[in-house]
Amino acid sequence: MTNWDAKVSEFKKKIECILPGKQWEEPYDTSHLPPKQSDVVIVGGGILGLSVAFWLKKLENRRGAIRVLVVEQDHTYSRASSTGPSVGGIWQQFSVPENVQLSLFSINFLRNINEYLAVVDAPLVDLRFNPSGCLLLASEKDAATLENNVKMQRQEGAKVCLMSPEQLQNKFPWINTEGVALASYGMEDEGWFDAWSLLQGLRRKVQSMGVLLYQGEVTSFITSSSQMQTPSGEQVVLRRINKVHVKMDKSLEYQPVECAAVINAAGPWSGQIAELAGIGKGLPGTLQGTKLPVEPRKRYVHLWHCPQGPGLETPLVADISGVYFRREGLGSNYLGGYSPTEEEEPDPTNLEVDHDFFQNKVWPHLVQRVPSFKTLKVQRAWAGYYDYNTFDQNGVVGPHPLVVNMYFATGFSGRGLQHAPGIGRAVAEMVLDGQFNTIDMSPFLFTRFYLGEKLQEYNIL
């Protein structure tokens, strides 16, 4: 009842303004700003962010139940790790069983892509999938690990077979099998596809499902904290993100978006976003002080031409030395790259290509494995970022233990593209149901960084 008279007089003043003949001050046009409220805000509109948005809308109980806002810094995706830069490969040959399950689900998703992503009146998605398989080579010391991995992959349902060096020489005569003790070859469900068309297909579908896509930058989070006690009597400070400040592109305007959950799918920049939410601000060695160990790492992809090179049957070959390559198109062109060791890491502050890198690091190993590559000519090269997890090169999925409504979907260190459908579904299940329903991704939770439990993946491309 307080201020009732003041409110009435204010109201009367407003009515007087609208009456004809008076000065009408138009309310400020905010149609270019994101909405003031949204149930879920996804930071990052790349392949992982869009996949989470898609599954959130697909798994909701009622049509239109969840409002989703995706904030992406760069709508041209010029620095995105999942599009033009990507080699676009998908394979099931991993050492962690959950990764194999993710790949199997993803290949199923890609095979039935139009069942999932068809939009009325839009053209069907054509992924240009090359089912040529993936060939992993192993030296003497890694042969036992490879054999165990293949046994596990076959148990999960992947169609992988082991080959001895003689069988390898018979099947692919252009390989020099020196130093190779064992090889594993995927017969089916492996190959490479066009990442850009998947990204565009997802964008179109999520827009038709009612997700809002905004070009802007997340500059800060407004959080509130509360003191809680664990069952053992310890005091913990739990924090909730209440608002996300989204800054418009090329301006200082920002909009505070009130939200219930935030998904961190910012790829190489997830570490910065996590710091904005206060993750890692504390004494080192405590849970508060554990940072999100994801940082951008630069990776090159080189395109070369070699008329005497391997033929149409070439799979995606991953050599012992860390060099990998595959065919591109019909015209004797090949794409390839190299995963450098820690000392050889290129400088990630820019996306400039170091051409000496190919000459010194990639070419010698290529020629050693495929002698006909001696006459190759590099046509082009480009660089992209990996959202590299410095802890164990495997992704982070699920909520943070202290900032309770921030969920991660990042850190997959080069495998985010091929696992995107599975990861998106897992995060959506976590947000909607509070648990993983299909693939159990508990080994990928954040808490393993604090507990020091590494989830190491044997072969990284």
């Binding site: 009325v120 053209p123 069907l124 149409l312 019909l330 015209g331």
Partner: protein, 260 residues
Amino acid sequence: MGFLRLGAREWNGRARGIRSMSEPVTPDSSRKKRTLLQFLSDYFHDIHALREYLLRKQILKGNRKNRSFADIQEKYGPYVTGALFILKQGGAVKYDSCHERMFQNKEWIRPNEHGHFPTEFLEFRKVPVEAVDASGCAINYQGMSNLPVPLKELRFLSLQRCPNVDDWCLSRLYLLADSLQELSLAGCPQVSERGLACLHHLQSLRRLDISDLPAVSHPGLTQILVEEMLPHCEVLGTDWAQGLKLEPDQQPQNTPAVSP
């Protein structure tokens, strides 16, 4: 409700146009033939939901015909399962000729124009199926689990003009690597050079027909690459002169006449 049914029929005709690869979808072309449903769906959310439902049904249309025959496989064995699947789709099956004493004729078993076929083959659970002619059938990736998986001694396979056979289906053919000798993919609209690349597993293949594949971008070059990949196989493809446009003075080579 009569007008809605009219709209659906018109719209279904338009949806077939979406599938054809030669037609680019430009804003002008979509404005020309707007059906009643398209117009209404801009204003009514329910119509939009209805159109989405119709689109989903369109896409899932092929699934019933390609459902898994696992229960039949348990009861009758793999060969009968494969044969039954093909015959139900409208294709033809031929049994191994050395077992011909079980048959009056060692000809193809085909369904007649009413879709009925002779059921004597249900008795022959141990007789391997030698040849399958699935031309024009609606077989897709899911249906392939009823075909190469059970029929291990298949020697001849014809998938001519199958509208749903795509690159994914071809990647399942590696299971027939030991036995398949003749394969025909002529006229399949969804097979591209990427699917042809995974035929290298079929080392027993002696005849391969890859003519008239509209989705292959460079037919002449693809044929050369496939011939290099399968050195013991005779590849029937497109007319050689197609790839030799730049050199008109060179004599075009003669390939065997192509007839699907």
